[in-house]
């Protein structure tokens, strides 16, 4: 049986892992390579790295870091932040990443994403989306897609966007709730459920994980294929082993041996 994936997220700025709340007030947590090895040895199923300042600073992603991660761990990892061209995608994948994660770029230049999926394969391209709740008319799902770290609204409905992403050829969608990010109050369940049922590609829930119960809920009730965790493990409150034991006890299919 296919297992549900637990994916620690490492936000990296100047080669240090940081974590904020709702994309702000970041504090430093440690060295990305050491943390990647620790989580991989600890039993996580995949990792994702976001170079959170590359885009704002207008520079390419830190490829040397990607190379070091690829040397250090033997599980799949995705890299995002600052991907602006097919060359950037090639560089990240060739350095040893399994996937590239694109977000704002997909809104600005969807054709580039489609071309990336054709050239490198759908399974290599992950679409990250940052939807925010809205009462404005014209949003069937009640969520609008934002870009550039929540700073810009796009006018795109979250469900329409997820379906379009699938048509573009992306292999997976990460639904990152801006409202829930870093709050540790649980995933945005309804949003995740809507996206999981709207597309036939895997859906990753992100933003808000604080307890094992939150993870059980997102896997069992709204059928996320994977979940991103950050604060709950970065603070040391939980180990991945503890989380997995809790999920296994609840009957969730989880990778048990590593």
């Amino acid at each position: 049986m296919l297992t549900k994936r637990l994916i620690p997220c490492l936000d990296v700025r100047n080669r240090r892992v940081t974590k904020g709340v709702k994309f702000q007030n970041n504090v430093e947590l440690g060295d990305p390579i050491e943390m990647a090895v620790g989580y991989s040895d600890g039993g996580c199923d995949e990792l994702v790295f976001y170079d959170i300042t590359a885009s704002a600073e207008g520079r390419p992603i830190d490829i040397e870091m990607v190379r070091e991660v690829a040397k250090a761990i033997r599980i799949p990892f995705a890299v995002g932040g600052g991907i602006a061209s097919l060359d950037d995608m090639y560089d990240v994948l060739h350095a040893g990443a399994e996937k590239v994660s694109v977000n704002s770029l997909a809104v600005v230049d969807p054709e580039l994403i489609a071309e990336g999926a054709r050239q490198f394969g759908s399974q290599c391209i992950v679409l990250g989306m940052d939807p925010v709740k809205t009462d404005a008319p014209g949003f069937g799902s009640g969520y609008e897609i934002t870009i550039r770290g929540f700073r810009e609204r796009t006018g795109l409905d979250a469900l329409d966007w997820a379906r379009r992403a699938q048509e573009m050829g992306v292999g997976e969608v990460v639904v990152n709730s801006v409202d829930a990010d870093g709050t540790r109050q649980g995933f945005e369940q309804e949003l995740t459920r809507m996206v999981a049922h709207a597309v036939t590609i895997p859906v990753v829930a992100s933003g808000g994980a604080g307890t094992i119960q939150h993870l059980i809920a997102v896997f069992e009730e709204v059928h996320a294929d994977a979940a991103i965790i950050a604060s709950m493990i970065h603070t040391g409150e939980y180990t991945i082993r503890q989380i997995k034991d809790g999920l296994i006890a609840a009957g969730i299919p989880i990778r048990k041996k590593w």
């Binding site: 799949p76 060739h94 040893g96 895997p202």
Partner: protein
């Protein structure tokens, strides 16, 4: 020297890094001479079967692969590298493949729309027959998969591992003499996947234990 066959079908870096981690000397290459003289051959691949077969033909590698396999060189196919060993694939409107293992490659058709395509993530491999490449690997260990098509071998005795997804138990490991092939990515499958590569490095190409 181990040849990692480069036919422009995807990213081979992780295969190379896994072999590096084991201290094995390997080279990513499309050079027929290097592949012919290699002690062992890894035939990876991601992406579509049609593009893969075209790329193999353009690089004139089909015959070279037949030759090394015919000569008994230990040979490991991975993911699309496994699928291309079969007679044909349903992908890309029907693709004729290398025909080294009898059978065809079919698309998953899940009856439950929440079983997503691609089959992506960690899934258990049931070892249905013993093999030296399973040495030290517990039965039902999970490996990392990412694929939308699966291999359906004609001869059941060639199936060494099976995995359940979308209502079927598909062949996730096949072996025929010196050719061993996995649908999953051992190079992405942590310590257990690395163990499979380690076993491959010791394997003499004979199926016995």
């Amino acid at each position: 020297m181990i040849a990692i066959v480069d036919y422009k079908a995807g990213n081979l870096t992780s295969v190379k890094l896994a072999l590096d981690a084991l201290g094995a000397e390997s080279r990513i290459t499309s050079d027929p001479g290097r592949i012919r003289s290699a002690e062992r051959v890894v035939f990876p691949g991601v992406g579509a079967a049609g593009a893969g077969m075209r790329a193999l033909a353009e690089a004139n590698l089909g015959l070279v692969l037949r030759e090394v396999i015919g000569r008994g060189t230990p040979f490991l196919g991975v993911c699309v590298g496994m699928q291309l060993l079969f007679d044909r694939s349903e992908e890309d409107g029907g693709t004729k493949c290398l025909g080294l293992i009898e059978g065809e490659v079919r698309r998953f058709v899940p009856s439950n729309p929440l079983e997503k395509i691609p089959h992506m993530g960690w899934n258990a491999v049931r070892q249905v027959r013993p093999h030296p490449l399973f040495s030290g690997i517990e039965d039902e260990s999970e490996f990392y998969f990412v694929h939308s098509y699966y291999c359906a071998p004609l001869v059941p005795s060639g199936i060494f591992g099976t995995t359940r997804y979308a209502d079927i138990d598909f062949a996730s490991v096949v072996c025929r003499e010196n050719v061993f092939a996995t649908q999953f990515h051992p190079e992405r499958s942590g310590r257990i996947g690395l163990r499979l590569y380690e076993n491959f490095l010791r394997w003499d190409g004979r199926p016995g234990c």
